[in-house]
């Protein structure tokens, strides 16, 4: 499997990473090198093998639906690029 420049642009959009036209060929070549290495997996017969998501195959733990955290909004927003009145600021998304 080898990626085209259009596919690289599509993946970059999905990943929300700007890849400039000047970078895209070099990015594609490196990605194709990695994909060629990964392709070895395709030759393995995994019929009847259950996928393994986690080392311990444990079910997720449940906890009581209770408030355990204190309000630390100011501390958490102190590291944000831009806030106002306790809100995170982003460019206008609704006209």
């Amino acid at each position: 499997m080898s990626l085209t420049l259009d596919q690289v642009a599509r993946i970059a959009h999905l990943a929300r990473i700007e890849v400039t036209p000047a970078e895209s060929e070099a990015v594609r070549d490196k990605l194709n090198g990695i994909l060629a290495m990964i392709d070895e997996l395709q030759s393995v017969d995994t019929t009847n093998v259950a996928p393994m998501a986690h080392a311990q195959d444990l079910a997720q733990r449940l906890r009581d639906d209770a408030v355990t955290e204190t309000d630390r909004r100011a501390a958490y927003q102190a590291v944000a690029p831009e806030t106002e009145a306790g809100l995170y600021l982003v460019p206008k998304v609704i006209e």
């Binding site: 990943a15 929300r16 990605l31 290495m37 997996l41 986690h54």
Partner: protein
């Protein structure tokens, strides 16, 4: 003092032969002298460290000290530590001062009262095997300044190797504790997945990430791991198990121990002088009473491709949190919300991190999920089953940690796949979730320099105390681990 074990430091502090402030100052002085070249630390805050040392001395005076109270350590910059800049090796977090402590930081610094000397350099978001992907510049290997210290915990490895810290924390997703430990002549342990909490440890690949100790001996690692490990309800995959003293079995004799040698580890690919050092270690273990058996891990060669599907897939999801909105780098130029995301991420992430996010996005995307991601997870089970079959025949598995000694800076940086293959012996352990460690087993000559060789030990789930015992008995019989680089 700089070669003292944690046990000796603990005793010296308890007997008031030295204060934590004096000990911390000694290390801060070494950091001031050696770090400008080695670049093992990205953040040092002497005032903060000395204040913690003072508090530790007060705690000892008050008589409620833990064995490690006042002992300094280096923290990998992947652990959020309140009030400390926490960068994860990335421009994305260049100005991020954490508002909270990772569980590991709480355990070591608050509960045990250890003193952080600073945050160590690392490959960006732990993605690398040479420390060259760090935004804060490469780390030099103290054994040969023109070579890499390994990665991703390369700063932690170089800091301890150059005696700029008595011990350090690291994290290991595909070998990031064991490989730098091997390349810098340290002992490092990656515990069973779930033993150490991931809370506050900046996530790379959550089903593989695990923190552990990197130190000068198995005994030191046992003491640090005992203070680091334990159930944490804030980590959804933390294992609720009884607290362990990982040093409890250190002195057990090895007579009757069955060591398995996977034939695939010894087939080819290992450098001749690395193989020689590993063979000599096997001979030493025979002398210590161990029985050597051959085992097989037939799917081991698939571990690198499976890892480079699973780890990037998880990374692409984990790193989506860096959006330029809540924390981290925000681009100066953007026209709308989408370009704010795209530009912030393009500027904030380095080339290797972007590559892995793109690979992960691709293998999870519509039409490719089954062929790549699901297939990799099935192969992951085959790899775990190989280990289960091997552990039916032996107690521990032994092999090299890395196919070669430390490579030259720049040697593999241009070819990602070559870099990935330097973790060929370590990655399968993460996929299976097993504990693994690296310990020094000799040296190889390169260009007139002595470079350390690492021996890897792999155990069954929750066998950390046994692994540390097997390593400690070897370290009682040999002195490889006590050797340090010249000129420091």
């Amino acid at each position: 003092m700089i070669n003292a074990s944690l046990k000796e430091l603990s005793a010296a502090l308890a007997d008031k032969r030295i204060s934590s402030v004096e000990l911390t100052q000694l290390y801060l002085d070494r950091i001031a002298r050696l770090n400008p070249d080695l670049n093992a630390y990205v953040t040092v805050d002497a005032a903060r460290s000395l204040a913690a040392a003072q508090a530790a001395d007060a705690r000892r005076a008050a008589g409620n000290a833990h064995a490690l109270t006042g002992v300094p350590l280096a923290q990998k910059d992947i652990f959020c530590a309140e009030g400390w800049r926490t960068t994860c090796g990335s421009k994305m977090l260049e100005t991020f001062v954490s508002p909270y402590d990772a569980h590991v930081v709480t355990r070591l610094e608050k509960d045990a009262g250890m003193v952080s000397l600073g945050k160590t350099n690392m490959d960006e978001f732990a993605m690398g095997s040479s420390n060259e992907t760090s935004y804060y510049g490469p780390v030099q290997n103290p054994w040969d300044r023109s070579r890499v210290p390994g990665g991703s915990s390369g700063g932690s490895a170089a800091a301890v190797a150059a005696r700029m810290a008595p011990i350090a924390t690291g994290t290991d997703t595909g070998g990031s504790i064991r490989q730098p430990a091997a390349l810098c002549n340290l002992t490092g342990l990656k515990p069973t997945y779930g033993v150490v909490s991931r809370w506050g440890m900046i996530a790379f690949a959550s089903s593989l990430d695990q923190a552990g100790p990197m130190g000068k001996s198995a005994e030191d690692c046992a003491l640090l791991l005992s203070a680091m490990a334990g159930f944490d309800p804030k980590d959804s995959t933390s294992l609720d198990r009884p607290v362990e003293d990982y040093a409890r079995d250190l002195e057990q004799p090895l007579a009757g121990l069955k060591i398995g040698l996977p034939k695939e580890f010894f087939a080819d690919g290992m450098n001749a002088d690395v193989a020689q050092a590993v063979e000599a270690a096997i001979a030493e273990y025979r002398k210590l009473g161990a029985e050597i058996v051959e085992v097989s891990l037939p799917n081991m060669k698939l571990s690198v491709p499976a890892y480079y599907v699973i780890a990037p897939a998880e990374a692409s999801s984990n790193l989506s949190r860096f959006d330029g909105v809540r924390y981290g780098h925000r681009a100066a130029e953007y026209t709308d919300l989408t370009s704010l995301y795209k530009n912030s991420r393009a500027e904030g992430f380095g080339a290797e991190v972007k590559r892995r996010i793109l690979i992960g996005t691709y293998v999870l995307s519509h039409g490719y999920y089954d062929a790549y991601y699901l297939q990799a997870q099935k192969v992951r089970r085959l790899i775990a089953q190989d280990f289960a079959a091997a552990f039916a025949q032996c107690d521990v598995i032994l092999g090299p940690t890395s196919p070669d000694v430390a490579f030259r800076a720049g040697e593999k940086a241009a070819d990602p796949v070559q870099m990935y293959l330097s973790d060929i012996y370590t990655i399968a352990v993460n996929l299976a979730g097993l504990p693994g460690m690296s310990l020094p087993c000799g040296f190889a000559q390169r260009d007139g320099k002595r470079l350390p060789v690492g021996l890897q030990l792999i155990g069954d789930y929750f066998s950390e105390a046994r692994l540390l015992n097997v390593a400690h008995q070897y370290q009682r019989a040999t002195d490889w681990h006590q050797q340090m680089p010249e000129g420091l």
